[in-house]
Each structure stands twice: as structure tokens, then as C-alpha cells.
Amino acid sequence: MNPSLLAGLVGAALVGLGLYGLIAHPHPLRKLLAFNLVGSGVFLVFGVVARRGAAAGYAFDPVPQAMVITGIVVAFAASALAVALILRLAVAGGDVSLDPQASGRRDDGEAE
């Protein structure tokens, strides 16, 4: 098994796990972790892409590396923002859940 294949398989597994989390778990923290799993899987796919050297002429393409680094920064920022929101929500006493029943009620609240 060559490294590319391994990275690809692990990436696919991570994405799969993350998708399960996307669908199954109502708690936002779990969703956030699921997002990070999918993200990591995607970064691994980028690794495979770099390894294959898609851009003509390079044995190892450096561009996907740059993209992965950027992507990690973006994902980190997203996670930070989400965690901040979850914390605020917990402090504000709201129901920290994406449970649809609760959110369905919220939609009918007064404006502003």
C-alpha cells in the first residue's frame, strides 16, 4: 500500500465519520468536531493531490500544501468562532442544542 492510497483511505474514513456526526448528533459541540473531522479528511485528500503532483512537471506539488495550511487556518478560525458562540449561548442560559423542537419555538419569538 503506497502512502497516497493510505492517505486517501484515511481521508475518506475521516470524511465518512464526520458525515455521520453531521447527521446524527444534535449537540453543536459534536457538530463542530464532526466538521473538523471532515475538514481533516479533505486536507488529507489535498495531501494525496500534492503527492501525485498534478501540476505538470512537479514531482511533489507545493501548491496544495499552501492551500492546506490556509485551510487549516480557516478551519481553526471557524472552530474558534463556533466555540465562542456555544459558550455565549451557554452563558446566556439558552438551550445549547440544535434540537429542532427548541429551535422551532424560537423562530416565533418577537423581533428585535
Partner: protein, 534 residues
């Protein structure tokens, strides 16, 4: 000259409308808006005696046109708008909401006769339809609100059908022109001809109350105050007539479509009378008479279409113009009778002449209108049906006269309150004008004075009147049919449809749950993949 008049026809109401947006000018603009139709009147009179003209503004994509059928209807409509508007604002100053609705309706009601391209026509047609809601529906009375909601529903549905029709017309024109003349020239060869025609008949049929789209009209006229009912039944409905005139390919024989429209028209003509005879309020009876008369127009246009006769356009414009004057005068008659309490013998004769004019009573404008329709109802089955329609109309109008003279209580009080005093004072002059004015615009008025024609016109009216009086004497009661007849069924259907709302709400609530939305995301990926690999 004619170009300037055409532009002014639309520009004048537009200027008054613009003035309404400045607070301190609004009241004055509304009070003086009776002047807004003046250029239209001039253009109409001018256009009657001139060859058709078209004025294009390519930069704006705007095109205006004036041909004799449009000019005749424009002139009469402008006259009606001026008279009623002036009287209404002289006697009382309706509020801004009513005034702006009035002005917008007037804008559209004049514009439909001169709009020369699809988009402008659609705009002015929407104006003559939708703002009229503001003329009657803002009321505490639930019946008026119901009439308003139903009116709007039909108007919007008609707009939607016409929008699709116009899109098909535009798609059928190979050079990308949106001028009505160009798209109509291309229609007979267009692949979307039949769909476009069906939509046109349905769309404009809603405006003129062809069955099964007739139910909104009685509710509307009963709910509208008399001046509004007068302009809507007179000028407003003619937007549908000019629509059919403009958008039926009259020059090319289309037997199937023509005969279908004629059948629908005759059916409407008799249906309107039959239901009208079961009604008791004068306004409602007049509404059913309008439905019936519009059916006659549709039938004549249908026969013209079947034979490829372009003359049907001018003939039916004249028929429509006569109906415009007479029907609005009849609505004002309700107010005049209510105020007078009892009619003098002379007034009764005048009211009767006016009413029976719709059945083609000799010496009235109606006789000329009937003569104008002769080309379409020349012989055979159509001629027979047309004569029967005359008899039926005479019956219905007699029924109207009976209920007019018996009007009392709240209905009479409302009618008195709604009608401006000036219109009541000058009612005899208005009625005479409505009877005589068509004589100045007829092609061959002399023909209608021949003894043969007078007899031809007289006996169906006499038969109809006699039948109506006989029926009344017999004491046979008409079945109780609610005003708006079929509308009751539509309302039930609509309520059923509204009951589906919670189903949508539940589905939406389900789909908006996380697991469902997340699964949808994955399904969309798969659906796109599957579609791409087909």
C-alpha cells in the same frame, strides 16, 4: 401632432400621479385629475378619422399605437372618466387612498387603448386591474372585503396567464420585436400558437367575465360605490375587449379557435341572463347583464376569427363603446332613481330606453351596436342565437327596471349616498347622451332608420319585455342563486387548498431539522452526480 397626443394620453395621468407624491400638491392633483383624460379624448377623436399610427421609442422599448377601434374606445372611455371624475370631486373629496387608486385605474384604463408593445400593454393592463381594489374593498363590511379579495385573486390569475401568453408571443417573433403588431403577424406561424391563444382567451376572458371566470364581477359591482361601478363596468371591462381585439389574430381564418370562442361567448351571453334573472339587487343584475353583453362581444370576435374577418375588430369596438356609455349611465340611473324616490313618467321612459338599448331597441345607440354586429351574426345559427340573445337581454333589462323601481330601504339609501348630486341632477342629460352619442360615430346611421331594420330591432325587444312581464305576472319564483354563482364553488376549493397550508408547515418543520437537512445535503450531491452521469 398625433404622436404628441398619444404621448400626452399617458403623460397627463402620469404627471398627476407624480404630483400626488408631493404632500402639498396631492389634494389639488386629485381634485383636478378629471383633466387627465383630456389628451386621451383628443387623441381618440383625432385617431377616429385618421389612418392607424404607431409611435416608437426604441430607447425605452416603448411603442404607442392608435387605430380606429382603439381610438373609439379611448374617446368614449376618456369622456366617461372625465365626467364621473369631475362630478365625484366636485361634490365630495374622496380620501387620498381612494383618489390614488382612482387615478391609477384611470391611467391604466386609458393606456390599454394606446399601448403598442407587449410590456407597456401588460403594465397598463395591470394598472386598470389591480388598483381598482382600492375603490371598494377597504371597508368594514366583510362582504366588500370578500369581493375585494376575490377580485384581486382573479385579476392576479389573469395577469399570470397573460404574462405567459405574452412570453409565448414574444418567443414566436423571430426578430425580437415586442410590438404587438409584429408579434401578432408572427403568431399564425408560431409553434406556440395554440397555447398562446388559449392563454389569451383565458386571460382576457377573466377580465370580461366569460364563464367560468364570471363570478367576481357581480360581487365587485355590488361592492363598489356607484361612480366606481360606473367607470369599472364602463371603461374598466373594455380593457378585456381591447385585449381580445388586439391579441386575436383576426386576419387569419382559424376555424377551430373562432368557433370555440363563439360557443363560449354565446354560452356566457345566455348564462349571464339566466343567472341575472334570479338576482334582485339592481347592481347585481347590471353586472350579469355586463357578463351577458361581453359574451356577445366574445361570440362576435370568435366568429370573426373563424372567418378571418378583420372587420370584427372595428365592429366590436363600436359595440363595446356603446356598452361603455350605456352601462355606466345605467349605474348612475340607480343613484338617480334612489334619490328621486319615485320616477316621473318621463324619467321612466328614459331609463327604459337606456336599459333596452342593450337589447338593441330601435332609435337607441344599441340599435346601431346591433347593426354593427350583423356582419358577424349574418345568417344561420349565429343569427338565430344573436336574436335569442337580444330577447334574453330585453328580459333581463325589464327585470332590472322592475327591481329598480322597487328598490327601497338600505339599498336605496346606499345608492343615494354614493352618487354625487351633480350626476343625479344631470342624469337625464347623461342618459340622453349615452343614447344618442353613438349615432355620431356609427358608420352608416341612416341604415338603422329604415323601417325594416326598426322592425328587426323592435320585435325581439317586445318579445323579451313581454316574456319578463308575463313571468312576473305568473308569480313563478326564480331559484335562489347567490350573487357570483360559481364563485361559491371556487371559494370552497380555495378553502380546501388553504387547508393544505399546515401540511406544508409540517413538512417544512421536518425538513428544517438537522438530520433531514444534513441528509438533504448529501442527497443533493448524489442527485447532481446521478444527473450528470445520465
Amino acid at each position: 401632432m398625433i404622436a404628441a397626443l398619444l404621448v400626452a394620453t399617458l403623460a397627463a395621468p402620469a404627471i398627476f400621479l407624480a404630483a400626488c407624491f408631493v404632500g402639498k400638491w396631492r389634494e389639488r392633483a386629485l381634485a383636478w385629475q378629471f383633466l387627465a383624460p383630456a389628451p386621451g379624448l383628443a387623441a381618440g377623436i383625432f385617431g377616429l378619422s385618421h389612418a392607424p399610427v404607431a409611435v416608437d421609442f426604441p430607447g425605452l422599448g416603448l411603442s404607442l399605437t392608435l387605430d380606429p377601434p382603439g381610438a373609439l374606445l379611448l374617446a368614449f372611455a376618456a369622456l366617461l372618466w372625465m365626467a364621473v371624475t369631475a362630478a365625484l370631486w366636485r361634490d365630495r373629496a374622496p380620501g387620498a387612498r381612494f383618489g390614488i387608486s382612482w387615478l391609477l385605474t384611470m391611467f391604466g384604463g386609458l393606456g390599454v387603448f394606446v399601448a403598442g408593445d407587449l410590456v407597456s400593454f401588460y403594465l397598463v393592463y395591470a394598472l386598470v386591474s389591480l388598483p381598482a381594489y382600492g375603490l371598494f374593498a377597504f371597508s368594514e363590511d366583510p362582504e366588500k372585503r370578500r369581493a375585494g379579495a376575490i377580485y384581486l385573486a382573479f385579476a392576479l390569475l389573469g395577469e399570470a396567464l397573460l404574462l405567459l401568453a405574452f412570453a409565448l408571443l414574444a418567443a414566436g417573433e423571430p426578430h425580437g420585436s415586442a410590438r404587438i403588431a409584429d408579434v401578432m403577424a408572427a403568431l399564425p406561424a408560431s409553434p406556440w400558437r395554440d397555447a398562446a391563444l388559449a392563454l389569451i382567451v383565458a386571460g382576457f376572458g377573466m377580465k370580461i367575465g366569460l364563464i367560468p371566470f364570471n363570478g367576481w364581477m357581480p360581487l365587485n359591482y355590488a361592492a363598489a360605490p356607484i361612480p366606481a361601478a360606473a367607470v369599472l363596468s364602463g371603461a374598466g371591462v373594455k380593457a378585456g375587449v381591447i385585449g381580445l381585439i388586439r391579441f386575436l389574430p383576426l386576419g387569419v381564418p382559424m376555424e377551430g379557435w373562432g368557433e370555440a370562442l363563439a360557443a363560449l361567448g354565446f354560452l356566457t351571453a345566455f348564462y349571464g341572463v339566466a343567472i341575472g334573472l334570479a338576482q334582485r339587487t339592481p347592481k347585481t343584475i347590471l353586472a350579469y347583464s355586463s357578463i351577458s353583453q361581453m359574451g356577445v362581444i366574445a361570440a362576435a370576435l370568435g366568429l370573426g376569427l373563424a372567418r378571418g374577418d378583420t372587420g370584427a375588430a372595428g365592429d366590436m369596438a363600436f359595440y363595446g363603446a356603446n356598452h361603455l356609455l350605456v352601462k355606466s349611465a345605467l349605474f348612475l340611473t340607480i343613484g338617480a332613481v334612489a334619490s328621486a324616490g319615485r320616477l316621473s313618467r318621463r324619467s321612466l321612459v328614459l331609463a327604459a330606453a337606456l336599459a333596452l338599448s342593450l337589447a338593441g331597441l330601435p332609435l337607441t345607440g344599441g340599435a346601431l351596436a346591433k347593426l354593427a354586429s350583423k356582419a358577424q351574426f349574418a345568417s344561420g345559427m349565429p343569427a338565430l342565437l344573436a336574436t335569442l340573445a337580444s330577447i334574453a337581454s330585453a328580459m333581463l333589462m325589464t327585470h332590472f327596471l322592475i327591481h329598480l323601481t322597487e328598490m327601497s330601504g338600505e339599498a336605496a339609501e346606499d345608492a343615494r349616498r354614493e352618487t354625487p348630486a351633480v350626476l343625479i341632477r344631470f342624469w337625464p342629460a347623461l342618459a340622453l347622451g349615452a343614447l344618442l352619442l353613438p349615432w355620431f360615430f356609427a358608420d352608416a346611421p341612416g341604415e338603422a332608420l329604415s323601417l325594416g331594420k326598426i322592425w328587426d330591432g323592435f320585435w325581439p325587444v317586445a318579445v323579451g319585455v313581454a316574456a319578463a312581464l308575463g313571468w312576473r305576472r305568473s308569480g313563478l319564483a326564480a331559484p335562489k342563486i347567490p350573487a357570483g354563482d360559481s364563485i361559491v364553488l371556487y371559494e370552497r376549493g380555495f378553502a380546501r387548498m388553504m387547508a393544505l397550508g399546515p401540511v406544508f408547515e409540517t413538512a417544512d418543520a421536518r425538513l428544517r431539522q438537522w438530520p433531514a437537512a444534513a441528509a438533504s445535503l448529501l442527497l443533493i450531491v448524489l442527485a447532481l452526480l446521478a444527473a450528470a452521469s445520465i
